[in-house]
């Protein structure tokens, strides 16, 4: 038994690190470092660099144009990306709909959509949650009624992340209202330019516009845009959720956040001494450090078993719960570390292009980021849902 990366894996890490140092544009790196919102163009610029290098679709097999990485390489890439302040690849196309298309899509669908995702030609968003269907996703009510070779789709989706930039949405719709709730669902790909679609921003408690409501009013969607059979949508959805959960522990981000916190706590002074030396604060930092150490090893255990062919399954739920709790704790400690500096709010700087004095800029995001990080224990299946999954599948309760 050993916890070390192989020489090849270490060489790969160096390769990734050198690539990030050379290719990540400075302005994007700086925006990420300061916690500022990226524009659609920022995302695309970076994703085009990754695409040219062949590293955009980290999880894809070679046959579809991916780099053919295993779970260990993907982990190394994520970790290095986070520590270099690279933007996270917008997951909805590359990591979410693409695996579903590969698994359940027709050859024609694969030939059409996958190359477009690889080339950043489509911006995908996720049409899952509805006002009445959150954790209980299968109770969704958006209707799709067959009309010749089209479906007429009506309903409302919500929490649609970055939907304001999207030109495509993968969407769960109810095609059979009579069937048992999971059985009546189908998986449709919808062009966001279709007549009848409107997108309305939801401003969250951090003042950000990250999520949206999407209204569908008799939208005509070709039957050819259905993935899998009619009524097979729930199978696709479940498959997708297991993909969403791997890597959701966000350990690279947690590591980066702890490093940042230590720097801050070393600089900021409390009654004349570094905040790092305040016992009550230091104690919480130490606990966060221990939690991160444990999570890293647990994550390596999951990676090793995934590498050896096991399906991560419920263990990734454990990682999600503890990883999100840790990141939330770190965001809380960072906010507290800043003291009165956490109070000012500069939305024009954080979410736009307004300038700010450099010393202010360093601290400007922490307060809002704390609020934003509340989402970590809610999205991707809330932590309570994760625990219920573990209880059911791992513990047989």
């Amino acid at each position: 038994m050993n916890l070390d990366f192989t020489p090849e894996e270490q060489a790969f890490r160096r390769e990734v690190r050198e690539f990030l140092a050379a290719e990540l544009p400075d302005d994007i790196r700086e925006r990420v470092r300061l916690g500022r919102r990226l524009s659609a163009d920022d995302h695309l610029r970076w994703q085009n660099v990754l695409s040219r290098r062949g590293w955009l679709a980290a999880g894809w097999p070679r046959e579809h144009g991916g780099p053919g990485w295993g779970p260990v390489e993907r982990h190394i890439f994520d970790e290095e990306s986070a520590s270099a302040h690279a933007p996270t690849v917008v997951p909805f196309g590359v990591s979410m709909v693409a695996p579903v298309i590969m698994k359940f899509g027709s050859e024609a669908q694969q030939r059409h959509y996958l190359p477009r995702i690889l080339a950043n030609q489509d911006w995908w968003c996720q049409g899952y949650s509805e006002p009445g269907a959150g954790s209980d996703l299968a109770s969704l009510r958006t209707r799709a009624v067959r009309d010749g070779d089209h479906y007429i789709v009506s309903g409302q989706k919500t929490w649609t992340t970055l939907g304001q930039y999207a030109n495509m949405m993968f969407c769960l719709v109810r095609t059979d209202p009579e069937a048992k709730k999971q059985a009546g669902i189908s998986f449709l790909l919808i062009d966001m330019q279709s007549p009848g679609i409107s997108v309305r921003p939801i401003v969250t408690l951090d003042g950000a516009h990250e999520v949206n409501e999407v209204f569908l009013d008799e939208v005509r969607v070709p039957v050819a845009n259905r993935i899998g059979e009619e009524g097979q949508g729930w199978t696709c959805a479940k498959f997708l959720l297991t993909h969403e959960r791997t890597g959701i522990a966000g350990l690279g981000h947690a590591k980066q956040a702890l490093r940042h916190l230590k720097t801050l706590a070393g600089q900021i002074r409390h009654r004349g001494r570094p905040l790092l030396e305040l016992p009550s604060f230091r104690q919480r930092m130490v606990k966060a450090e221990l939690e991160l150490m444990a999570l890293k090893v647990t994550h390596l255990r999951v990676l090793a078993s995934a590498r050896d062919g096991a399906v991560p399954g419920a263990v990734s739920s454990l990682l999600k719960v503890r990883g999100s709790e840790l990141r939330q704790e770190l965001s809380e400690l960072t906010r507290r570390a800043l003291g009165p500096e956490a109070l000012p709010f500069f939305p024009g700087f954080l979410y736009g292009d307004e300038a700010l004095e450099p010393e202010r800029a360093e601290y400007a995001a922490a307060g809002a980021q704390y609020l934003n990080r509340r989402k970590l224990s809610i999205y991707g299946g809330s932590n309570e849902i994760q625990k219920s999954i573990v209880a059911k599948t791992l513990l047989g309760m």
């Binding site: 038994m1 050993n2 916890l3 070390d4 990366f5 192989t6 894996e9 260990v72 702890l258 490093r259 940042h260 230590k262 720097t263 706590a265 070393g266 600089q267 570094p274 790092l276 230091r282 104690q283 930092m285 130490v286 606990k287 450090e289 221990l290 939690e291 150490m293 444990a294 999570l295 890293k296 090893v297 647990t298 390596l300 255990r301 990676l303 090793a304 078993s305 050896d308 263990v315 454990l318 719960v321 503890r322 309570e384 625990k387 219920s388 573990v390 209880a391 791992l394 513990l395 047989g396 309760m397």
Partner: protein
Amino acid sequence: MDFSYSDEQRMLADTLERLVADSDSVGDAAPITLWHTFAELGLLQLPFAEHVGGLGGDGIDVTIVMQAFGRGLVREPYVAGLLLPGTLLARLANSAQRERWLSPLLGGEYRMTLAWQETAARYDAHAISTRARRQADGWVLDGSKQGVMAAAAADALVVTARLDDGLLGAFLVPNDSRGLARRDYTTLDDRTASDIQLTGVLLPHDARLGDDASDTLDAALALGRAALCAEAVGAMQAACDQTLAYLKERRQFGAPLAGFQVLQHRMVDMHLNLEQARSMAILAATSLERPAGERDYRVSAAKAYCGEAARFVAEQAIQLHGAMGMTEECRISHYARQLIMFDHHLGDVDHHLEIVSERLTAA
């Protein structure tokens, strides 16, 4: 990166599984009946280097042994009576001392323990006040040691003492030495321990092991701590398994307890703690050959983490068993006692958090 056992380790795990299943002694008054079986199975030689008569096992081998002991509530003093004194002997003894003390220890015919802890020093193995003075015909030891595990059954003790020149010495002290007084007692986790008074104990020159014992003592304690973490993981695993089984079997309000979400989530929290503690125990066991600073940082992190996790699992296990969990008759209470008292062996959460904290620096 590889978390799998080798073929030999799998065999070791199977052997221990059977041994532990066959020798369940919960409820008995901690009889020491397995030590000779350990010797026959090679468990006493396992953790020591081949050139001193061991089998060259590593931290993971010890982890396998200790997890099984934790699961089966085996109370034989594998840590206190073998790993701790054995490490000091294996690394410090000259060949004559090895022949006389280590060989019979590994053969199972001679029992030993390590007397390192003192009341005033709490868990600090270096801040001791027991003294060793050199005199013409050997050494004189004066001082007292607290909570010396498995001392009553030991033939000899390895005793740490401060020398006049400031070095830390380790001395071989026969249990029947003149001037050695023992107060024996049992512990809350069903083990035996003693407080020991040393008053002008005379020892020959060759009773001293090596020169300064500080670094070796740290190495021995690191191994002991990693081993205790593994034992706690084994006990946590058993406590989780047993609590889960109880929740599935016990019915209230016309339904199994396992069907209640509030209990499901609590069970999952226990499981989360178990898996994270397992990771930390692995981290400790695979860090034993690293440079001392790095080794101790990781081992302390693991001991602190496992201490918290063990307490959580123990408390939840009792709570989820309801009043049954409060009874001595119910097996869970024995695991709970062990898991709570785990924190009091070789440094508790606060002790080890402080060590981690001292090394936490601004990035």
